[in-house]
């Protein structure tokens, strides 16, 4: 079955404040969707709410992946159902090596007794690390500890590649990356494009979209998707900024939930 990811009327709050005010979005395998928008409009909240960050409470709506509502699941179940979020600020976990973590994540998807063999795992991991131009030493470093911003982002893409998800959300994956690192990350994403995988790329900037070509572009303001279009929309936003969107829609303050 081709991957179908449908967000329907999703509302979410943080500490009682509503940030997502009814998100509707439908994605199919093979498609790349970009969500753009100024700071504070709810983009990253959408990513976190979909993944199930404990700080956010989903109050209404569904997000179904092949007819299964992810919102009914615990975080780890969402991941095993096929959702992957490349985080803007990945956690650092001391004492847990990158490779031990990755192997645990792969084995979490496998039945007990059919865990991946160590040799096969190392071969896979080293192969993908090479594609991402990562120093092999990073396999033995503690998870994200002492990684630079760019190294953390590459490590997120490495996880995506090894976990083979159905729906990938990239939350500001381009922030903190120099152009060379951005190209490598984009290559990694493009290599993962396939008919049964959908991508949701969250970004401030057009820059990433030069390397990862979106099929659809959505603009988020005030906790809603206020405008959708094709790749040309991203180009216009880059060239002209967001003011024309605000004027067109009669929006004065585009942010949401700001005290």
């Amino acid at each position: 079955m081709a991957t179908q990811f449908v967000i329907d009327g999703l509302k979410a709050t943080i500490e009682g404040k509503e940030i997502l005010k009814g998100i509707n979005l439908s994605m199919k395998g093979g498609e790349i969707h970009a969500i753009m928008g100024p700071n504070g409009t709810g983009k990253s909240t959408l990513a976190s709410a979909l993944m199930g960050h404990p700080k956010y409470e989903v109050t209404e709506g569904t997000a179904t992946l092949n007819d299964e509502d992810l919102m009914e699941m615990a975080v780890d179940e969402r991941a095993r159902a096929g959702l992957f979020l490349a985080m803007q600020y990945p956690s650092e976990i001391s004492g847990v090596t990158n490779s031990d973590f990755l192997r645990s994540a792969i084995n979490a998807r496998r039945e007990e007794g059919s865990e991946i063999s160590l040799i096969k795992f190392i071969r896979q991991m080293e192969g993908k690390m090479k594609e991402l131009d990562m120093n092999p030493e990073f396999a033995h470093r503690y998870l994200n500890e002492g990684f630079s911003g760019g190294e953390k982002k590459r490590n997120e893409i490495l996880q995506m590649m090894l976990l083979d998800p159905k729906v990938v959300i990239l939350d500001e994956i381009d922030s903190g990356l120099d152009i060379d690192a951005l190209k490598i990350v984009a290559q990694g994403v493009n290599a993962m494009r396939s008919e049964d995988r959908a991508f949701l790329v969250i970004t401030h900037y057009q820059r990433l979209l030069n390397y990862v070509k979106p099929d659809f572009v959505h603009v988020m303001m005030q906790g809603r998707i206020v405008k959708s279009g094709g790749p040309e929309l991203a180009e216009r936003l880059e060239a002209e900024g967001y003011d024309w969107v605000k004027a067109e829609l009669g929006i004065e303050d585009e942010t949401v939930g700001q005290a």
């Binding site: 956690s91 001391s94 004492g95 645990s104 994540a105 979490a108």
Partner: protein
């Protein structure tokens, strides 16, 4: 053989036991004096832990032991700890039951025997060291221990001898009514090198009991001692363990302490950095559960120029367990260019668990470097979320984080077998 030992111990009883074992007169006198002292001295007072409220009277009576023919006669959980040991001492209850030292080590002059045998066979040599690092009159505990210690270890490595294989000791007790009080003396002469590993455990439960053990280590100039000790005594047992090393010029010690007991614990490990260029590295790991109370102290006292100490403690507290973790770095006047660093971290897995980290730096010299870090906290929910977002279950995520927390101590352990053993014991206590 005697009436119940009261607390403090009676002089006559200590002397009678000593004579019964055929100990030399100086040792009988030492025990007698110590027993006498125990009446007037006070219990040690570690920070924020009232050990005087613990039931420290259950010291047990001297128990008779019969030698074992081989390790095959050990209870299973004890046997697994010493599987494959080439050099081995086993104490059961109040006395040694097995001794083994490879011939080639004996030929090099290495002595590795129980302390009681050493008292008769190497009386003069032992007298130079016994209760010289720890004085019998420091407090009620040292006095009681000096009066009552049994079994134990005497490890003597002559100068320039490097012992490749780890020397292992096992102390176990199956009978809560007998006295279980090993005393360990390690002497590493100039430029020698040795690794010593011991395990203390109780098999089966029983009445309240006290295990008191003391370790005295003399590291002479340029010598290097690796010392590892893992205690896993039962919930009915209070563990009172004091360890001390005295280091001469350029001497080095590495301590690895695993406090994995189920009962109350007072553990105090001190390096006295007497010599110039001496160095000490101490790694302590502990897991508390139930209603355990623990006082875990590591100390470094710097006298020597350019002396260096590093202390790391990691403790995981479950249930309603409490740990008071003290790190004391003392740099004396004149110990220029000394460096002392310490870190104490406590991870609490339950809102009712309690951890207290007390880094204490006492510095009487200007030209030194010192640092400390301490933290007490719970498992970070952001980290759990991050791991779960990769499909790892909550339970496995917490497990990874906890092992990661303990890793800085576990990975320091120099002997693979001990590291694996400690890992297994940690796993057992975390999952119990």
């Amino acid at each position: 053989m005697s009436t119940e030992v009261s607390n403090p111990v009676e002089r006559a009883y200590a002397e009678e036991v000593s004579r019964g074992k055929g100990e030399p007169a100086w040792l009988t006198a030492l025990r007698g004096e110590a027993a006498e002292l125990s009446a007037s001295l006070e219990w040690p007072k570690p920070e924020k832990t009232r050990i005087d409220r613990w039931n420290l009277g259950a010291l047990g009576q001297h128990g008779q032991t019969t030698p074992l023919a081989s390790e095959n006669e050990l209870p299973e959980q004890a046997a697994s700890l010493v599987a494959g040991a080439q050099a081995l001492l086993v104490q059961r209850g109040s006395g040694n039951v097995l001794r083994r030292l490879p011939e080639e080590l004996a030929a090099k002059g290495v002595i590795f025997t129980d302390l009681e045998t050493a008292a008769s066979e190497h009386s003069e040599l032992l007298q130079k060291y016994l209760f010289k690092a720890i004085a019998k009159d420091e407090n009620k505990l040292t006095a009681l221990h000096a009066a009552l210690w049994n079994g134990g270890v005497f490890l003597y490595v002559p100068k320039n001898v490097e012992v490749e294989v780890p020397l292992q000791a096992l102390f176990y007790n199956e009978d809560a009514s007998v006295s279980f009080a090993p005393h360990i003396v390690i002497v590493a002469e100039r430029h020698s090198r040795v690794t010593y590993v011991d395990n203390a455990l109780t098999v089966g439960g029983g009445a309240d009991a006290v295990h008191h053990s003391m370790v005295e280590i003399f590291v002479e100039a340029g010598a290097h001692v690796d010392f590892a000790s893992i205690h896993q005594l039962g919930s009915n047992v209070i563990d009172m363990s004091v360890r001390r090393a005295v280091l001469e010029n350029d001497a080095r010690i590495q301590w690895v302490i695993g406090d994995l007991n189920d009962g109350n614990v007072m553990s105090d490990t001190l390096s006295v950095l007497k010599g110039n260029g001496s160095s000490s590295d101490a790694a302590v790991v502990s897991i508390g559960a139930g209603k355990q109370r623990m006082s875990l102290t590591t100390q470094a006292k710097h006298f020597g120029l350019n002396s260096d100490s590093n202390m790391v403690t990691r403790a995981v507290m479950r249930d309603e367990a409490t740990a008071i973790i003290n790190g004391i770095t003392k740099i004396e006047k004149g110990a220029t260019k000394a460096n002392g660093v310490q870190t104490e971290k406590v991870l609490m897995l339950n809102p009712k668990a309690r951890g207290d980290a007390n880094p204490i730096l006492l510095i009487d010299e200007d030209d030194v470097t010192a640092g400390h870090a301490a933290s007490v906290g719970q498992v970070n929910p952001e980290q759990v979320y991050y791991l779960m977002s990769r499909g790892i279950s909550k339970q496995d995520a917490e497990r990874l984080i906890i092992y990661g927390f303990l890793a800085p101590v576990v990975t320091e352990i120099p002997i693979d077998a001990v590291r694996e053993q400690l890992q297994q014991l940690l796993e057992r206590k975390l999952n119990a």
